[in-house]
Symmetry: C2
């Protein structure tokens, strides 16, 4: 038996109906929705075929049909109509991204909330550099005898700085030497190498200078390690509670716990502008009954971010995909504009 066009037609109607009602769809409804040209009996025959082919499922003998993951997959691949956002909507999306360019963290978390609010599903978002960042330049600004400010410029143009309380007194004259030491030995290398380099130097400089040096390097290592971590922010988990499939508090709790605690295992596709994972296509146990739509956006430099939306398998793929694409665009454009202005992130203490 093969998948005729009419079968696909019917599958599409079933899915789109089910997406909105969350109720099994019956033959009569379908017939009506298809313009009444074909009788419900014919539809029934087709439905039986679609079940046999694995695109639909039947909760119990005398209920309507529900799409299977395989059905959704076909829908997403072939049947779904690319949805265009209205101008007004695009406008609203961009407006929600209109914020003062603050720290990356904050922008990201804002955007995550906006996405979630737009699609009415929980969302997650992250920004991650592809390469490890290195230090590019150090500066030390004396404050008083026991403290100075370390300023550190990273490979990706971010600047981090902090007040450093020194464990011992330092003469201002020593500073230039120290800075020089830092810039010649600790720029452009990885954290591991930094630690090695520090050990090497331990015998070449005075103990006093070494103490200062290691304090500064320790700070640098902290910063670089933190910069390398991809932080994942989730937003709008509460949206789940509106969905009939999560009215059961236990189910909702389970998924919300997963979203809150196991962020690392959220889908993070390596490539492509958009990826849709349906039900069992997800690796994580907790996502077996949910679908995930992920889009990527550019932050400039070698940075790239991901925004994802989590919902039930019957989520409104067309709408979510369109909006997510809108956001990805908006973010890319937003970071693009910043090119030549404060780069990606802000410094830290």
């Amino acid at each position: 038996m093969e998948l005729t066009d009419r079968k696909k037609q019917i599958l599409k109607v079933v899915i789109e109906d089910y997406i909105h009602t969350a109720e099994p769809v019956g033959s009569k409804t379908i017939a009506a929705e298809m313009g009444g040209k074909i009788s419900s009996a014919t539809i029934r025959n087709e439905l039986a075929d679609l079940v046999e082919l694995g695109y639909l499922e039947q909760p119990h003998t005398s209920a309507g049909r529900v799409p299977s993951p395989k059905g959704y997959r076909l829908y997403v691949n072939e049947l779904m109509e690319q949805q265009r956002l209205s101008l007004a909507e695009t406008e609203r999306i961009n407006q929600s991204l209109q914020m003062k360019m603050e720290e990356l963290d904050r922008v990201i978390s804002q955007a995550g909330k906006a996405v979630s609010a737009f699609v009415n599903y929980p969302a997650y978002i992250t920004a991650a550099g592809r390469k490890k960042t290195v230090a590019r330049r150090f500066e030390l600004l004396p404050v008083d005898e026991h403290s100075c400010i370390v300023v550190m410029m990273l490979g990706d143009d971010r600047v981090k700085s902090q007040l450093l309380r020194l464990q011992l007194k330092v003469e201002p004259e020593q500073m230039p030497g120290l800075v020089n030491l830092l810039n010649t030995n600790f720029t452009g290398i990885s954290v591991d190498e930094m630690n090695l380099r520090l050990m090497d130097l331990s015998e070449q400089v005075t103990p006093q200078l070494f103490l200062l040096l290691s304090q500064t390097v320790a700070y640098a290592v902290d910063v670089l390690e933190e910069a390398g971590q991809r932080e994942i922010v989730t937003a709008g988990a509460k949206e789940l509670l509106k969905l009939p499939e999560f009215r059961d508090a236990d189910k909702a709790h389970q998924l919300m716990s997963f979203l809150a605690d196991s962020k690392e295992s959220l889908p993070m596709p390596e490539e492509g502008p958009m990826k849709i994972l349906i039900g069992p296509e997800n690796v994580s146990e907790a996502l077996q009954n949910t679908s995930v739509v992920v889009a990527s956006y550019d932050i400039g430099g070698d940075m790239r971010g991901l925004i994802g939306v989590v919902g039930p398998t019957r989520m409104d793929y067309a709408s979510v995909a369109a909006r997510l694409a809108g956001f990805a665009d908006g973010l890319t454009r937003m970071f693009g504009k910043q090119e030549g202005l404060p780069p990606k992130e802000d410094t830290k203490t």
Copy 2:
């Protein structure tokens, strides 16, 4: 009719039982729990009195009794036994706060999560300075002809920095003058004054210098404004779903929306180390059926933070209060230790 000691005794038993079972408490249970010295009939008489006095309520004629807000209030004020945390528990709390002293934001959000996980209720946390921060010192580090690094030291010892793309070329020789201008004119004053000062200077310096100046000051204003904002982080909203009173998805959704969106209206008592707000004592509509326990902690300097826990009115006040106090202590101690080390927060871009 007056509130005898025995009545208080009984009230206490009712409340403590109800806290754990969430079921109306009957006279027999109470009699048993009080050691069987008094018969259930006597208890019934007392219960009737307690209802009349407004400390208890009766869901329907033939159900047990449930504490009223007034009852909880009495319990919290007089009846509740100060709970002491076990050493192990204190240990665990402190351990959960054992983290690298990173940016304040991050510490706060971590601590919020920890609190929520400990008490099994949603928590919120914030850190707020009492006074407005000012800039204390500026530095500019040239990078290339079109960019330099602004470093800014705040009144509370934090350091913020960012790479600034300049709208026009600058000779390195101009830098010292600019820095001097900044340090003499823009330190120690409020944001409003900064803007005024900038206008004044517009006529006194060359247009080119003024452009640079305003770019830098704009950055400073951004930083100071952000520093003045109290950010409120909420954590563990999902805990609600475990409670019988929020098994109803709508109720849970309502409160979670409130926690996510209307953070400003969460109780922020101005003084006292700990405050308990029961049901209708809360101002916010959405909190009418919940209780809130808030504790404050010191961050050093003129900074003070608040941690709060939101739960049903039947929340385990004794336990929550004890743990919250433990966390407040832990945080205060933690920030105290940092005295003389990196002060409160980290810099921003």
